[in-house]
């Protein structure tokens, strides 16, 4: 990478840390540290909500998904605006009016201490492990792109983020999120513009999308009702609705964002920003992936996008096998390029028969490219032992560093760092808040003053930063374990949502009903997950509905005086 790009990247890291630490003086008491004294304007909260949700996995993984499978992933986000509407009339006013620090604090006021502690504990476990994955996933890719080892990139991402979160608290998290979101949007728009400019003139934008469309890349709706298919219209509107209600309504990393707003209405409007912009933003991300796919039809791509793995195979005993695959790959790439040019010309001339013929040829060459790539990936997995290797995650950063001008490369890589750091910062702040408010202040030192709690909060943020970085560093070895833990996290999401449904939606619900319902919900999710092929998004529905139903039954069978939250 050029020294100018390195300078931009390092300048970004220094600037964001200095800018975050600058806000330390506004975090002198607990409410300032955890909730920015409920003083943040709605637009900054809204950008912070978006920046928290958009991680580096989105920039790297989702563009890769667009490259490999087209637009179908967009269906996953269809319910998001509806979730924001529902939350703004249900959860948001409850949390704001209760003047709580954490979502789980509200559960003790409504139910009891055990329900609060269990939900907070589940949050800590799942979010801390997820935070490790949020660091490790981009770190693995960036280590190859930047030519550093994985430990160094994990620390490059984790340490600066922990530093400004420890000192600046939620003030720093929110205001750096605003700037990072600006950088992310700039990076995405710059990439999109470069791709549009890079399309061959004789093909044009419409021709490029026609070519992608001929392979089903422009499919945005799949109305088949299939519980084992991850991305359909139904999973995107029904199952994902439960996921988004849970994520934005009960996950402290998001709830904490809008608890910093000045009023209930400000909190509502901040969520609406995601309601308006999330789907278009995600379309942009996926379109970038689709256009990179088209770009690499007319510009020869590498057979594998991970240069380090490729080098390793070339130096191994199976180098000859790899060279043979490369020869086949070069032939298939040339065949695919010519077929795509014929397809574009036939589409331009409006010749139906020629279009159908060219389309068949193009599909056949593309299938051949996919087949050879799969063989190459299998070879890499054998040689490197990296069974979780996913080549598409390297597509976007490789394209950026090999085809964009000096300066823009640095800015887009800084945007990838920004995407990772904005998510991690919010997660560290929320982990620290739940640790201090739901455990330390609740069970250990309830009489402690703000000064003491503030010191403990900073220590807790540092601890979680260290914990997440260590998880990230060992994530490569732990590979499949991390995946299991993340999947395990989806066991809790719907069930925790069910507890909040009970709290807000069933007046006679009591603590025992909520607690037993929560355990029943997790058991139901575990059963469905291990004994059926139902896709993970639907587990959120199973968990929430089970908790709600079991919670009502237990509460009605063994009633107690309802607690009215303060």
């Amino acid at each position: 990478m050029h020294w100018i790009d390195w300078t931009i990247l390092i300048a970004y890291l220094v600037w964001i840390v200095v800018d975050g630490i600058r806000l330390t003086k506004k975090s002198k008491e607990l409410e300032g540290y955890f909730l920015a004294s409920r003083s943040i304007p709605w637009w900054a909260v809204g950008l912070s909500v978006m920046a928290t949700q958009l991680s580096a996995i989105t920039m790297i993984g989702t563009t890769g998904q667009g490259y490999a499978e087209g637009m179908r992933f967009i269906q996953y986000y269809y319910a998001l605006p509806l979730a924001m509407l529902i939350l703004s009339v249900t959860f948001v006013p409850f949390f704001h009016n209760a003047r709580v620090f954490t979502a789980y604090e509200y559960l003790e006021r409504r139910f009891d201490a055990k329900t609060r502690s269990l939900t907070a504990f589940l949050f800590l476990i799942s979010r801390a492990m997820a935070c490790g994955a949020v660091i490790s996933a981009p770190a693995v890719v960036l280590s190859v792109i930047l030519g550093l080892n994985v430990t160094a990139t994990c620390l490059f991402i984790g340490l600066p983020t922990a530093l400004y979160t420890i000192f600046g608290g939620v003030q720093a998290v929110t205001w750096t999120d605003v700037k990072q979101m600006g950088l992310i949007v700039f990076g995405l728009l710059a990439a999109f513009a470069a791709l549009i400019i890079g399309i061959p003139r004789e093909v044009g934008v419409t021709g490029a999308l026609d070519i992608a469309g001929s392979l089903g890349y422009m499919q945005t709706f799949d109305f088949e009702f299939d519980l084992s298919n991850r991305y359909t219209f139904w999973s995107g509107t029904i199952a994902a609705l439960f996921l988004f209600l849970s994520y934005f309504g009960t996950d402290q990393s998001q709830v904490q964002r809008y608890l910093t707003a000045r009023s209930v209405d400000d909190a509502r409007v901040s969520l609406f920003m995601s309601g308006y912009w999330k789907i278009p933003l995600q379309v942009l991300v996926l379109l970038i992936g689709v256009l990179i796919f088209v770009f690499y039809i007319f510009t020869p791509p590498p057979m594998l996008f991970n240069a380090a793995h490729e080098q390793r195979v070339r130096e191994s005993a199976r180098a000859a096998e790899y060279a043979t695959l490369e020869q086949q790959f070069d032939r298939a790439i040339a065949g695919r390029r010519d077929a795509a040019a014929q397809l574009a010309a036939a589409e331009r001339n409006g010749d139906g028969a020629a279009t159908a013929f060219a389309n068949a040829g193009f599909k056949s060459w593309n299938d051949e490219v996919i087949r050879i790539r799969q063989s190459a990936v299998a070879l890499v997995k054998d040689v490197s032992g990296d069974q979780s290797y996913n080549d598409v995650n390297f597509v976007f950063p490789t394209w950026v560093t090999t085809h964009l001008p000096v300066g823009i490369v640095g800015l887009i890589l800084a945007a990838i760092f920004a995407a990772a750091m904005s998510t991690i910062a919010a997660e560290l702040a929320s982990l620290s808040t739940a640790t201090v408010i739901d455990f330390y202040r609740r069970w250990i030192r309830s009489e402690a003053d703000d000064h003491h709690l503030l010191n403990v909060s900073r220590a807790a943020t540092a601890f979680w930063g260290l914990f997440a970085s260590v998880v990230a560093i060992y994530a490569v070895e732990l590979g499949s374990l991390i995946e299991v833990v993340n999947r395990f996290g989806s066991f809790f999401y719907g069930s925790i949502l069910g507890v909040f449904f009970l709290a807000i939606g069933w007046r006679r619900a009591n603590g025992n009903g909520a607690f037993i319902g929560l355990i029943a919900g997790m058991a139901a999710v575990a059963y469905v997950n291990f004994s059926t092929s139902v896709e993970f998004l639907w587990l959120n529905v199973v968990g929430a509905v089970t908790v709600f139903v079991v919670g009502i039954i237990i509460s009605e069978l063994a009633p107690s005086a309802p607690k009215v939250p303060r």
């Binding site: 637009m71 509806l82 992608a212 945005t220 209405d265 509502r268 609406f272 789907i279």
Partner: protein, 31 residues
């Protein structure tokens, strides 16, 4: 809840439906 916030409810639903319609049109046009 002030009137401005209430207006957002209608706007979000309208924008949401328009977005889905545009994506459906995109799929139909390029397939």
């Amino acid at each position: 809840m002030n009137a401005q916030v209430r207006k957002h409810y209608v706007r979000i639903v309208v924008v949401w439906l328009l977005t889905l319609a545009s994506l459906y049109a995109l799929q139909q046009y390029f397939s």
